[in-house]
Amino acid sequence: MKKILVLFSHPKFEKSRVNKALVDHIKDMEGVTFRDLYECYPSFHVDVEAEKELLKAHDIIIWHHPFYWYSCPPLMKQWIDLVLEFGWAYGPNGNALQSKTCLNVITTGGAREVYCSEGTNSFTVNQFLRPFEQTANLCGMNYLPPFAVMGTHQLTENQLNAYVTQYSQLIKLLQQNLALSEFNGCFFLNDIPQLQPQ
């Protein structure tokens, strides 16, 4: 079973209905290490050594965060800036993360329709996530398409429950070493056949 590290960043977690539901279902799963970064580092003083140890001990890294201004919250960027050190994560001898797997789990207020060239946001989620994709690539990690809960403003209880179930199913699939080929053609992990309701 693959070990999963969920790095969760949310500056106002206590006010987020959707993220609370998502997190509640996965944080105590077996083989999952859930890490609430804003709770660990309220003053942005990231403990680099501790974070590196955690990364080493896991196979799959999930960056779980709301989509803020088309990107991640600042503490997560701080985490990337500090932890993914030159000479450790990338650069000469920087191979600590080689062949690990990495993905973003995001929540967005806007629905999927507005994230396209014709929509108000002009670009797709995948395009906005390019920096994360390339960060993973530079560190030698396999970057998977994102799992996204979109249109959270209008999400009904039932829809939310469906997402929550999907998220935990996805984690189970990832733990069983899903082949990379199975994601081909999907822009979102939400769309892979295994996660579709029977």
Binding site: E85, F86, P92
Partner: protein
Amino acid sequence: MTGSILFEAIVFLLGAIICVSIAKRLGLSSVIGYLLAGVLIGPYVLGFIGTEGEDIMHFAEFGVVVMLFLIGLEIEPKNFWDMRKTILGMGGLQVLGTILLSYILFTCLDFDWKVALVISMAVALSSTAIAMQTIKEKGLMDTTFGTSSFSILLFQDLIVIVMLGAMPLLGNSNTISSVDNHNEHVNLLDSLPMGLQTLAIILSVILIIVAGKYLIVPMLRKVAKTEVRELLIAAALLIVFSISFLMEYVGLSPALGAFLGGVVLSNSEFKHELESTLEPFKNLLLGLFFMAVGASINFIVIAKSPLTIGGLLLAIIILKAVVLFITGQIFKLKLDQKLLLTFGLAQVGEFAFVLLSFAFGLNILNQEQMDMMLVITALTMSLTPIISIVNERLILPRIGTKESVKRPMDHIAKSQKIILVGFGHFGSTVGRFLRSHGVEATILDQDSNRVDFLRKMGFEVYYGDATRLDLLESAGIAEAKILICAIDNPSVTKQVTKMVKAKYPHVELMIRVKNRYEAYDLLNLGMENIYRESLDTSLVLAKDVLSKMGFRKYTLNTQVHNFIKYEEAIIRRLAKELKPGDDSYIFKARQELEQQEKFLNEDFKRGIVDFDNHWDSEHIKKALEKSKD
């Protein structure tokens, strides 16, 4: 045996060192130690000091003057003005009440009315030296008891002038010129008519105020510029001497003048400098004064008529206590504060020596009456610290229970999850922040007046002594999640936290401590959450200094965070190294230096200023070049 000044000095110093350290070891006030030392070296026990004890006393009274100057420094003019009602009200009530009761007592005992009146006036005055020294030593100046005592004593300082002025009117014959007492001031105003005297007094007070602003402060600035430390000491003494001289010259109490001078200078930038300069003088002179009082207790007079003296002694103390208690009652002091006041001022003070010998010189008192009253005065002063101990150890702890029974509102009905002990400057800030988050802690505080005041401000504060387990239990310690200990006093903190940890181990203790030593102590007792008040603020200041020097704020922020983390680790390690037993002051001071060195060394080894390579392109460039080679 007592020929040499050096020998006398040795006797006094040795007596003080031995007796005061014993008193302190036993947890008693230093005043008791000094008094005991005086009795021991005095003419009736070891006989090192003869009758010159009285001369020494008059010299040492200067300690009281310095003390009042120092007290004045701590009271800003505005606060002094705010106190005027308490001074006149409480002081007036106490003095008049005592004179009246005492006069009745002594006339009933068949004393001549003049004698009775003189004695009553002397009896009405309490000892500023003993009362204020005790209050300061216990850090109670900010309590209602502290300010009330001070107000009464200040009024007595004022009224003693009137008393001295009125004394000649009672004189039996025209013997003023033959007055042979050393304390009698040769004073320029005696020959002047009453109106001019008053005018001179007012003028000299104005003179002090004006001189304080336009003469003393500029002088101190000049002196400070020379950067010769002893000049400042000289200047400080000069100020006090000059004011005392001026006051004696116009017939006012030097202590009162010194107090005024202190108030005038309390706003100046030299306040703390003057304080630290004069403090040692004050302490030594007061110690000398107390020893002289002890030495002046005439055991021959006591032996002659022990019953009369014992009876009078008791009667006078009770009489004074009753008047003080009633005064406290009228001014609505809480019971515990009232009792502290009652027992703290129930002695006849040093002014009695002045009044009595003046009256003796005027032939109002005869030798026998004079001796008797002097002995009683010295005895009441010596008994005060002992009575206070009885009050604090035996009476006050019981009062606490009664007090909470008497106020049904204080019965802590709803048990909350957080208990906050100590609601002073530290605790109240904690409480306010908690409350702003809707967290209503159960607050315990010792000062009943503060409790009332805070209640009016809308806080839920309960009165009580947190070292009492039953009180903590009624505050709901059994169901509490966290106890916040924000007490000022380290020994109380230790007592409370130790007790809670032993009896209610599930309660998380969050403890405010003053310094490293306290932290070590508590860490060794197994406490975890320790908050050193000296750590954060000092680092914020240091950070701001470095920022003003051009260091970047964000970097400094990170450094402060690292420093605290690292300091916490070190302190936990050092706590284990610090062996129990070597906690005496000198050892501590030396250890302080050694530790400071250790800290600096560790900083150096760790290279704290450059702790990571984050955002450092130089580092990347170097590494890339290396990999090319």
